[in-house]
């Protein structure tokens, strides 16, 4: 099977995934308690106004009918209208995509080099002081609660020193880098240790494996073995973990986005969930699905490039 047709097949498999997601998300949001209309109209709204608007938005129809009309709209590329804002869901979501993607790219750009360098240093200096230091810091990075760290950093670097803004996204590339620095560092603080520990374990595991011993006995140089065999075989699990984490971040950068008031997908999701804006929640879920499938696919393609034995 050529990799191109494998790719095509993966994309085909996307269809049932998306339908599955749309169904599950539809049921979950509709079955959870809370009425978008009540939240929209406000506390003092009369029961009649609430009932009328529910009727008008079709929220009183049977769930199955609602789902199929939703599905058929989605198949026509229409994610529907936000109940809250009376605006198309698609464009609403797109407005919130750039800050989140920028933040994730930023986090990856910081985390990947840091992880690789630290893991290699740690693995090659195993049980000597650099290794101990890196591992201790990694444990610290992982166990500090993110929002406590974020709060402290925004207080110290933002309020006291004034080096970085404590909120927002800014305008233009450089401002984005400036505004999102603290959010990115806050996220990298737990992401790097996570990846680092995984990579370090894999590196050490590979260094001690039989085929490396064999290579050594053939007289190949330690550095050559490390680059040619050890590293290549070790990055795969870490790369997969990175994929999972990126997908996770797209949907769950919520805490960091809220603390640093970044107008990203996380804030949109929280607003939509709290306001029970069904169509927005469903639209976002589908968006996450697409994004995570793309990330997964990219990681899988990278995996085959690194290690051809891995099939798509």
């Amino acid at each position: 099977m050529s990799s191109l047709s494998a790719l095509g097949q993966r994309l085909l498999q996307l269809i049932p995934v998306l339908i599955g997601i749309s169904l599950v998300s539809f049921l979950l949001v509709q079955l959870s308690p809370g009425d978008p209309v009540r939240l929209l109209l406000g506390d003092r709204a009369t029961a009649e106004a609430v009932a009328h608007l529910r009727e008008q938005y079709g929220l009183n129809q049977p769930l199955i009918a609602q789902y199929f009309s939703y599905l058929s709209n989605v198949l026509h590329g229409d994610l529907g209208h936000s109940i809250r804002y009376q605006m198309p869901v698609g464009s609403l979501i797109l407005d919130f995509v750039p800050p989140t993607l920028f933040l994730i790219a930023y986090v990856v750009a910081i985390s990947v080099p840091a992880t690789v360098v630290l893991a290699i240093v740690s693995a090659r200096c195993r049980d000597r002081w650099p290794d101990h230091l890196i591992r201790a810091l990694a444990i610290l990075g992982m166990t500090i609660p993110v929002f406590w760290l974020a709060l402290m950093m925004s207080r110290f670097f933002g309020v006291e020193l004034g080096w970085f803004p404590v909120s927002g996204y800014g305008k233009g590339f450089l401002e984005h880098l400036h505004h999102l620095f603290l959010p990115a560092i806050s996220t990298a603080t737990w992401l790097v240790p996570l990846l680092l520990r995984n990579l370090r374990a894999a590196l050490i595991n590979e260094t001690e494996s039989d085929y490396v011993t064999a290579s050594r006995s053939k007289g190949l140089g330690e550095g050559y073995i490390f680059r040619r065999h050890v590293l290549v075989n070790s990055v795969l699990p870490t790369l997969n973990l990175l994929g999972v984490m990126i997908a996770f971040l797209i949907g769950s950068s919520i805490v960091v986005e809220i603390i640093y008031a970044v107008p990203g997908l996380g804030t949109l999701m929280v607003g939509a969930v709290l306001g029970r804006d069904y169509n927005v929640i469903q639209g976002l879920t589908l968006f996450y699905a697409l994004a995570s499938v793309i990330v997964t696919l990219t990681i899988d393609i990278l995996s085959t490039t690194i290690d051809p034995r891995v099939k798509l």
């Binding site: 599950v24 166990t143 240790p193 374990a201 795969l236 997969n240 879920t285 499938v293």
Partner: protein, 278 residues
């Protein structure tokens, strides 16, 4: 660990054993503190004192008092009961489910793999908070429903991790050798491949325990998770957040507690992964 016999010959038990000892000592200390909390602190963890609000650490209140005048030391100790339970119960079901799915998926390949990985895709795409809100809404608020939500999403990381390892391992000589010797797929999977994924799983699981602990705290934003006034470190940190300038002790000590318990978990896992031959 049949396959790693030569590596096992070089195994150093020393450092690993020390880490395990230190890590489990920390965890056990917390377990003891949690179980015997009333012995260490006479104060009622939920005892409100409206005259003694926001008092700094002193001989009467080792960790000070919080915004309702409750003894933070006592709350930190009592919270350990829930947090230790959360770290364990929030990780084991996802690990078991995820590892099984990853193993089967990676080893079997083909249609089974495709179907299972699409399930992974669906789950990964699901924003955690939506799931928690829906589940809590349907089952009612509380810790156990939070575990259900965790199990429903948490397995994915384990499945992907194990599957990735299996994809590499199943082409290794010792696996092909075992297959050539006529062992059935279940035997090969369980006896030859699975043990080789333990180290990665352990490394991730212990880390995950810490993440689960912290995720519980971030749910405070939406008012989910543990119900007040039950002491829980994450909720205590969230409650103490507005007082971080004037009364740092309210969220510092639960933060320290979470960090030390996390340290114990991770140290143990490091030690274990060494002793297991990694």
């Amino acid at each position: 660990m049949i396959s790693l016999s030569s590596a096992s010959a070089r195994r150093h038990f020393g450092p690993g054993a020390i880490e395990i000892a230190a890590g489990t000592a920390i965890i056990l200390t917390w377990v003891v503190l949690a179980v015997a909390a009333p012995l260490f602190s006479g104060a009622d963890p939920n005892g409100i004192d409206l005259i003694g609000l926001l008092q700094p650490p002193s001989a009467d209140h080792f960790f000070g008092t919080d915004h309702l005048g409750r003894d933070v030391f006592s709350r930190v100790l009592h919270a350990a009961r829930i947090d230790i339970w959360m770290g364990i119960a929030g990780v084991i079901p996802p690990l078991l489910i995820g590892a099984t799915i990853g193993l089967i998926s990676g080893y079997a390949g083909g249609v089974i793999d495709a179907v299972m990985m699409r399930m992974v895709d669906i789950t990964v795409a699901f924003p955690f908070f939506v799931l928690v809100i829906a589940i809590v809404g349907m089952l009612g608020p509380g810790l156990y429903n939070y575990f259900v939500a965790l199990a429903l999403v948490g397995w994915v990381s384990y499945a992907r991790l194990v599957r990735a390892e299996v994809l590499v391992l199943k082409n290794r000589e010792f696996v092909t050798a075992a297959q050539a010797l006529g062992y059935g797929p279940i035997v090969v999977m369980v006896r030859h491949i699975l043990p080789n994924t333990f180290s990665s799983l352990l490394v991730f699981a212990t880390t995950d325990a810490v993440l689960v602990l912290l995720a519980g705290a971030s749910l405070g934003f939406l008012g989910l998770g543990v119900q007040p006034p039950t002491p829980e470190w994450g909720a205590m940190i969230a409650d103490g957040q507005p007082y971080v300038v004037d009364a740092w002790w309210i969220c510092f000590f639960p933060g320290l507690a979470a960090t030390t318990l996390g340290f114990g978990f991770i140290l143990t896992s490091d030690g274990l992964s060494r002793v297991l031959g990694r």
